[in-house]
């Protein structure tokens, strides 16, 4: 209507040209692209930039943003905020006076910002902070702590905190990497390190292997400052530079790698010109496994520079007790029913001054082919066959010993008749052994051989009933078992002893078809073994709670094959064995075994262990082990909280036979919310009249790895069920 004209008549309105776009909105903004905004005021010249003022909130997928004022550009999808910027993404909370965020990716930059990583309780502040939107937070001049502090900005009021030139926290790989870092504990800087990485959760191998301090009786003061280098996702290298006051400087290295087909670990410790011995001391351990389809291969090589290496350098009795180091390489091809394996095995034997050991034969090589038990046609019979050829080389230190090659073939046929009420398994096996020897004693053949058959009948009958066991409804079974074994006597005294020994007598051995392990001897036998087992199964979960077994092997005729030098001839029936094992109640576990000499009724062997573990951080283990004329030791260990801050750890392993402390460990732990101090004293026997005493101090900063050597790991091996303070705190 042009103004001022007469009013238009009521014509029909002009038809608008219908054009797709003009129809307005057909498709809404997809959820994962939509940016939801709310503010007090919004203005903008056009689609280039939109200004938002007054407690602005922006949300995109899992990212939430709030600030006093934000300028958002849909073109660059970037929001620049001024005034109380807060960014929240899953368990991460970032705050800063200002900063900018790319909404689509979550990448953000901020200045003098604070951060909180709720899932790992990590918090702190930084002059500049960058977040990659995925998982990695990069901080400049940060301080970081895991302890309780009034607010994230006050990280330096934590019991411990880290300050650094730069710190990167990668939440995906759960690792923190700091450069130019300083660890401050109770306001005292205790560690300055140009670079270190630390785990942000317990699962990861600790990147930060903190320095350890300790004194060791045969070496003096020891300080180690380890470096963990995470070379690649599937490779890492750890260096252990160590100063030993009584000996010198040692460098330990440990490299690990894991690829789809290969896995391995290399450890090499080297200490040039040890002050105590004047020689270089070193230890190498190489472990490699290869697997591809049916092919398997591997190397397990261990070597030390001298016989006393472990006595001088090991911090645990287990390591100190190594006397024969294996040096093996193998290649095998495995299929469902058969496998072939070739290996060479050599040894390094450590002879200690008044404790000489007989060195084992090296097997250069040993080849084995094995057909696993396979059904014959569809008869109810199975056959297994194995062939082995071994070249035994005598150790250089025993040139007089016999050596040579041995070929063994074994075949076994058995017919398992298994009904639901009983099982009956007759078996026939044959072992043919022949040798080609050098250095045999005069009068003994160079190529002794033997072919020895064995017959066995094994039958068990099953009874059961419903009953209750310490208040729990159970199914109790009663399984009497009869096992007859017949092997004719064949004089094998002309055969050498390469890899054969008398096996322990035990409940599992009285049903074995050969009382010797290794293939140089097949024990003659005309024996009847009777045994009864009763098991208690939980009625609901059918889990085996407890079992009691008793059994005896009766020698119907005395066995005549004797392993010269290892066995005295006996005519007695086998001993009587009994074992009781299982969980008596929720937190009490019992394992008791006894072996009585059938004739004299004397106690040949026995051990009993009782462990009581009512809750995490509370554990008590009592153990007594006895073997006539060899072992008579009791072993008490435990961990018990003394107060909510203190807890005691200990182990005592004393041998009455030698009136000597085999091993003693005593530890005291004090813990606060985010740190714990552990002092561990330890003494263990390393050789006749020689022991190692050591005292270790360890400070553990939760979430930062254990500062100090690994007494915690040592304890977990020494005190079964031991739980480090931090874990027990976390779960309370």
């Amino acid at each position: 209507q042009t103004p001022g004209q007469a009013p238009a008549t009521a014509e029909a309105p002009t038809k608008l040209r219908i054009d797709g776009g003009l129809l307005g909105v057909r498709s809404p903004i997809p959820e994962d692209e939509a940016t939801y905004i709310s503010a007090d005021r919004l203005y903008g010249n056009n689609a280039e930039e939109t200004f938002l003022e007054g407690n602005v909130e922006i949300r995109r997928k899992k990212l939430r943003l709030s600030s006093d004022a934000i300028n958002y550009s849909p073109i660059t999808d970037r929001a620049t905020a001024k005034g109380n910027l807060v960014i929240e993404q899953e368990s991460m909370l970032l705050k800063a006076p200002e900063g900018s965020v790319k909404l689509g990716t979550g990448e953000s930059q901020m200045k003098n910002a604070t951060f909180e990583l709720r899932d790992i309780k990590g918090k702190g502040r930084a002059d500049r902070m960058q977040y990659d939107g995925i998982s990695s937070l990069t901080l400049e001049n940060p301080n970081y702590t895991v302890c309780e502090v009034p607010n994230a900005g006050a990280a330096d009021q934590g019991d411990w905190y880290i300050t650094a030139d730069s710190l990167e926290i990668d939440q995906a790989s759960e690792v923190g990497r700091a450069r130019g870092a300083k660890v401050v504990f109770q306001d005292v800087p205790i560690l300055g390190v140009p670079y270190f990485s630390f785990p942000t959760s317990d699962r990861r191998k600790s990147g930060f292997l903190p320095p350890s301090f300790g004194t060791v009786s045969n070496s003096g003061l020891e300080v180690t400052v380890p470096y963990y280098l995470n070379i690649a996702p599937d490779k890492d290298l750890t260096l252990f530079p160590k100063v030993i006051s009584g000996r010198g400087y040692q460098l330990g290295t440990q490299g690990r790698y894991l690829t789809p087909n290969n896995e391995g670990e290399i450890k090499y410790d080297f200490l040039p010109s040890d002050e105590k011995t004047g020689t270089d001391r070193s230890a190498l351990s190489l472990l490699h496994k290869f697997e591809k389809g049916p092919f398997y291969a591997g190397v397990n090589f261990n070597q030390v520079s001298d016989d006393n290496y472990f006595v001088d350098f090991s911090r645990t009795q287990a390591v100190a007790s190594q006397r024969v180091l294996v040096q093996e390489g193998f290649l095998s091809y495995r299929q469902k029913n058969w496998s072939a394996n070739v290996r060479t095995v050599a040894h390094q034997t450590l002879q200690l001054f008044n404790d000489v050991i007989a060195e084992p034969y090296d097997r250069l090589p040993e080849a084995t082919v094995e057909l696993t038990p396979t059904r014959i046609g569809d008869a109810n019979a199975f056959v297994s066959v194995s062939g082995q050829y071994t070249d035994f080389a005598r150790p250089s230190s025993a040139p007089a010993r016999v050596e040579g090659s041995r070929g063994v073939t074994r075949a076994r046929v058995f017919m398992p008749i298994q009904r639901s009420e009983f099982s009956f398994t007759p078996a026939l096996s044959v072992q043919s052994t022949n040798y080609d020897l050098k250095g045999q004693a005069t009068g003994l053949p160079g190529g002794p051989s033997s072919v020895i058959p064995t017959v066995s009948l094994d039958s068990t009958v099953y009874f059961d009933r419903k009953t209750s066991f310490f208040g729990r409804k159970v199914n109790q079974t009663l399984e009497p078992r009869i096992f007859y074994l017949y092997t004719p006597f064949k004089d094998q005294s002309d055969q050498p002893i390469f890899d054969t020994t008398v096996t322990d007598q035990s409940l599992s051995r009285i049903f074995a078809e050969n009382r010797y392990s290794g293939l140089d001897r097949v024990g003659d036998a005309n024996q009847l073994t009777l045994a009864v087992t009763s098991r208690f199964y939980d009625e609901k979960s059918s889990e085996e709670l407890f079992s009691v077994t008793g059994g005896q092997r009766l020698n119907l005729t005395a066995s005549r094959v004797i392993l010269q030098g290892f066995e005295a001839p006996t005519t007695s029936d086998s001993d009587f064995f009994a074992n009781a094992r299982g969980r008596i109640s929720g937190s009490v576990f019992l394992d008791a075994t006894t072996q009585l000499n059938a004739e004299s009724g004397r106690h040949e062997r026995g051990n009993i262990s009782l462990s009581y573990a009512p809750s995490i951080g509370k554990q008590l283990n009592l153990g007594y082990r006895y073997t006539r004329a060899q072992i008579d030791q009791f072993d008490i260990s435990g961990q018990w909280p003394i107060s909510d801050r203190w807890s005691g750890v200990g182990r005592l392993n004393y041998s009455m036979l030698d009136n000597r402390l085999i091993e003693g460990v005593a530890g005291l732990e004090y813990g606060e919310g985010c740190w714990a101090v552990r002092v561990i004293a330890q003494r263990f026997a390393t050789a006749p009249q020689l022991e190692t005493t050591s005292l270790f101090v360890q400070l553990e900063l939760t979430g930062l790895g254990r500062l100090g050597s690994n007494p915690a790991d040592l304890l977990s091996r020494k005190v079964p069920g031991y739980t480090p303070f931090s874990t027990s705190q976390a779960t309370q």
Binding site: I29, R41, G54
Partner: protein, 159 residues
């Protein structure tokens, strides 16, 4: 709005129209439709006043009143639209400014794809510069808030 819109004449179409000589105010009622080039405003009642300097102010009321306009775009084939609703829509002919009040909300779309939707208590839109100014609408908490949903320009779209 489109460059050409400014030069177009404003036409108004309605069922009834009354003109008041003294106050120089014309009131249109019933299916009111104001068009100027690609700008379209609809409502139940339109009050047109002419100021001394010859400027025309149109106030459109409706439940709600609606407006729509095509926006400039460098890519000829792109159809960029802006549309809005409000209990009252005012249009200043000379300044080419549209002001929506009363549960005001606007939507921008590109080729039918919604790119922005904003609501507030008062929205002013300058057609020539496409400058948008939104003031908060009272929300349940009594605070006046602007709510907006914006789609980021994918690389292709952003010129």
């Amino acid at each position: 709005g489109l460059e050409a819109d400014r030069l177009q004449a404003t036409t108004i179409d309605a069922n009834q129209m009354t003109y008041n000589e003294k106050s120089n105010v014309t009131v249109f009622t019933g299916n009111v439709l104001l068009t100027r080039g690609s700008l379209v405003i609809r409502g139940e009642k339109l009050t047109l006043t002419e100021t001394a300097d010859g400027n025309q102010l149109a106030k459109v009321e409706g439940s709600p009143a609606r407006f729509k306009q095509q926006r400039d775009s460098q890519v000829k084939s792109d159809v960029l639209l802006i549309s809005g609703t409000g209990e009252m829509i005012e249009f200043d002919g000379n300044k080419s400014v549209v002001t929506l009040t009363g549960k005001a909300s606007i939507e921008k779309s590109a080729n039918g794809q919604l790119t922005e939707s904003i609501s507030g208590s008062k929205i002013t839109y300058e057609q020539n510069t496409e400058f948008l100014n939104v003031v908060g609408a009272p929300n349940s908490a009594g605070k006046t808030r602007v709510q907006a949903v914006i789609k980021p320009k994918t690389q292709g779209q952003a010129q």
